[in-house]
């Protein structure tokens, strides 16, 4: 972690909570949790992320976790790619699908509306811009306007999170810790 305050600057109550998380999970606390619990009155984006990822949507939880992993890949955040690939794989019970999507979106075994939406999120994140023609293309692929809005909400949440994961230099947790984290995210979400 690049800033010492994110490792050791939490309030006493939060330090106690981090200790409980460490004992209950059996793993070191991942850096994403340390960030989420640091000065929640300033950053505290957990509720926004939870609504984007677990609120009512025509996209499944697995689809939205895959979108998060895809956005993270566009931002080049290894931590977020690993965390949300694991979560999406667990939800789908299909890690090959997630791996194939991140490796080559054009040939991945996914439905066309999801493919078009991921292309949109990838372009938005990596090129910092999309236009009306891009949107028309996604709509023509059968994606509804509300589905696009929901996907953009995931893009917002993980456009922030993946940037911060890189900027603060999150440690890549062990595969076992990532799997434990993925199970937690499916059980409890992001709050």
């Amino acid at each position: 972690m690049r800033l010492h305050v994110l490792d050791r600057g939490h309030s006493l109550g939060t330090k106690a909570l981090l200790g409980v998380i460490r004992v209950v999970s059996g793993h070191p606390v991942v850096d994403a949790v340390k960030l989420a619990l640091y000065r929640r009155d300033f950053y505290g984006a957990g509720d926004l992320t939870h609504e984007a990822m677990r609120g009512p949507s025509e996209w499944s939880v697995g689809d939205r976790e895959l979108m998060a992993a895809f956005v993270a890949q566009s931002v080049k955040s290894p931590f977020c790619v690993a965390a949300h690939s694991a979560t999406s794989s667990l939800w789908y019970h299909d890690s090959a699908k997630v791996t194939a999507t991140l490796a080559d979106l054009d040939t991945a075994p996914i439905e066309e509306p999801l493919r078009a939406t991921l292309h949109l999120l990838g372009k938005l994140t990596s090129e910092h811009a999309i236009d009306t023609e891009d949107m028309r293309g996604v709509l023509a692929a059968g994606v509804s306007p509300t589905q696009i809005e929901d996907a953009l909400a995931v893009g917002l949440a993980f456009g922030i999170t993946a940037r911060l994961a890189n900027a603060f230099d999150f440690d890549l947790a062990s595969p076992a810790a990532m799997t434990a984290g993925a199970k937690h995210l499916l059980r409890r979400g992001y709050r």
């Binding site: 509720d47 949109l120 709509l139 953009l152 893009g155």
Partner: protein
């Protein structure tokens, strides 16, 4: 559909207007992807546009310019939130234009 509109507004308000340690003008500049010349501007630009290229030296240089760890935390958060916010807002505008043109 999900509804992040209120949570989104609240997040932006918190990082820009809450009682934090970095001056509001600096947080606003970071949110807008700008900043005073020198290491602070370099760090803000990297977080906003290629966060994977941020280095320990970038942060050390900002510390040397006089910012505390919490101030650095705040401007990095503002830079990330601002960059993602601009993309989100532009995309929603493109969607509105596209759906309007289809009607």
């Amino acid at each position: 559909m999900t509804d992040i509109s209120k949570l989104h507004r609240e997040l932006v308000t918190r990082v820009l207007d809450s009682d934090a340690t970095a001056p509001p003008q600096l947080r606003r500049a970071a949110f807008d992807g700008a900043g005073p010349d020198g290491p602070i501007a370099v760090l803000i630009d990297k977080v906003a546009h290629h966060a994977d290229s941020v280095t320990d030296d970038d942060v050390t240089a900002v510390r040397a310019a006089g910012l505390s760890e919490d101030q650095i935390f705040e401007i990095m958060v503002c830079a990330a939130v601002g960059a993602a916010d601009r993309q989100y807002t532009a995309a929603l505008a493109a969607l509105a234009a596209a759906t309007g043109s289809l009607e």
